[in-house]
């Protein structure tokens, strides 16, 4: 099942619903890269609240998504990392740098608003 990606103003919101296979992770990456260009998005929010495990592959893919997005001018924020997932990630030294993280969708939107404020686009 592909990850649904919602467009909300200047931002894209990808909400992961269940554990992803490696192919689905790659699809998500391509999908997002494609839509950033199409919608001229300034920010991406990826909600991982439904994930019980974030392994090194997922972590690397998320980093790659963020790098890709940043090359196309968008900031990526990960939201909804569960406490035990956070602990496990730290213990396995899975790094999400340079990704931004936020507690939930609301926080992420506020973060992106702060980030994009000041360099708003013409007519936006």
């Amino acid at each position: 099942m592909p990850v649904p990606i919602l467009k909300q103003g200047d931002y894209l919101i990808a909400s992961i619903q269940s554990a992803l296979s490696d192919t689905e992770v790659l699809e998500l990456r391509d999908d997002l890269a494609d839509r950033i260009g199409r919608f001229r998005s300034q920010g991406i929010i990826i909600d991982v609240a439904a994930l019980d495990v974030i392994d090194s592959f997922v972590a690397r893919s998320l980093r790659n998504i963020a790098r890709t997005a940043s090359l196309r001018g968008a900031v990526t924020v990960i939201v909804g990392i569960q406490p035990d997932v956070a602990v496990a990630m730290v213990q396995f030294r899975l790094n999400l740098e340079p990704l931004q993280t936020a507690l939930d969708l609301e926080e992420a939107l506020a973060l992106l608003d702060r980030h994009t404020r000041g360099h708003g686009r013409d007519g936006g």
Binding site: I78, V79, I81, Q82, P83, D84, V85, A86, V87, M89, V90, Q91, L96, T101, A102, L103, D104, E107
Partner: protein, 308 residues
């Protein structure tokens, strides 16, 4: 005749190893032995306490205390020899352990004093029955198993008691587990007091992350003023806690690093570069308020000024 001796023995020793093989124990002989030990109580006790001092055992206790306690041990010891029942002795050993454990008496000291008593008494028997090797043999046959059993009982009681104390203290530490307090909207403080080990650090991290989620916290101030020492392990735990908080979208501020701890961390080469540190809790709270956009303004005179 032997039943009197055998029964409690096999019963009691079941838990501490194979029952001591009690050969023909002569109750009359044992009674005579006990009578002898009672009769020579003053000098035997004296010799024993002297050897305890020589061996430098129980140095945390004053000599009067040692003397009083050892008198009680001696009497209980002889009673146990006489009756073959170690219940009273066990109870006494427990209460003695309870009193001395907190003062830092070690297991080897307790075993040492009991074994010394056994040696002192055995030597007295040697001297007493010097002229009659056969009798000496039989007396020792009666004495040794009982004495060994007593030594085992005292040692096991002490260790049991010590384990009980340790368990209680561990439970107390867990009870003391660190509270996570909300001081303002979206601002939590986590005052850590006492010793941080891996288990506690893990528990603490879980609590903190749960609280971040529940209170939607943006900033967490971790105060370690009450942590006596920080080593590499603890420092790494702190770094992990901070990183995990960041994954949950909260910034952590570490406060209360004493100058000693700061120097230790630098000497150890622990990299706390990824952490935001502030000298004390007040500074940490001010920094947190700044991050959250609060401004604290004092209005008028302090209320604590004397009123007319």
């Amino acid at each position: 005749m032997n039943d009197h001796e055998e029964d409690p023995m096999s019963e009691e020793d079941g838990s501490v190893g194979p029952p001591l093989q009690a050969p023909e124990i002569d109750a009359a002989l044992l009674a005579e032995l006990v009578a002898y030990l009672r009769e020579h109580r003053p000098e035997l006790r004296e010799a024993w306490v002297e050897r305890i001092n020589e061996a430098q055992l129980l140095r945390v206790m004053s000599s009067e205390e040692v003397f009083t306690e050892m008198t009680a041990v001696y009497d209980n010891y002889v009673d146990a020899l006489e009756t073959g029942s170690i219940e009273t002795l066990r109870a006494y050993a427990r209460s003695l352990s309870e009193r001395i454990i907190h003062r830092g008496v070690e297991t080897h000291e307790v075993l040492g004093i009991v074994l010394l008593l056994r040696d002192v008494l055995a030597r007295a028997l040697f001297i007493h029955h010097q002229g009659d090797p056969d009798l000496l043999y039989r007396v020792l046959d009666a004495y040794e198993p009982a004495a060994n059993r007593i030594a085992v009982t005292v040692g096991v009681s002490f260790v049991d008691e010590r384990e009980r104390v340790i368990r209680e203290q561990q439970a107390a530490i867990r009870e003391l587990s660190t509270p996570v307090l909300q001081v303002r909207g979206r601002l939590l403080i986590l005052p850590i007091i006492g010793v941080l080990d891996s288990q506690r650090a893990r528990q603490l991290t879980e609590q903190l992350l749960g609280a971040i989620q529940a209170n939607r916290a943006k900033v967490v101030v971790i105060d370690i003023t009450g942590v006596a020492s920080v080593d590499v392990t603890v420092a790494n735990h702190l770094v992990q806690t901070v990183e995990a908080s960041r994954l949950m979208g909260a910034s952590a501020i570490l406060t209360g690093l004493s100058s000693g701890i700061a120097q230790t961390l630098v000497d150890l080469g622990v990299d706390l570069g990824s952490m935001r540190t502030v000298g004390d809790l007040q500074g940490g709270l001010e920094e947190a308020e700044r991050l959250l956009g609060y401004r604290v303004i004092q209005e008028g005179d302090p209320v604590l000024a004397p009123q007319d």
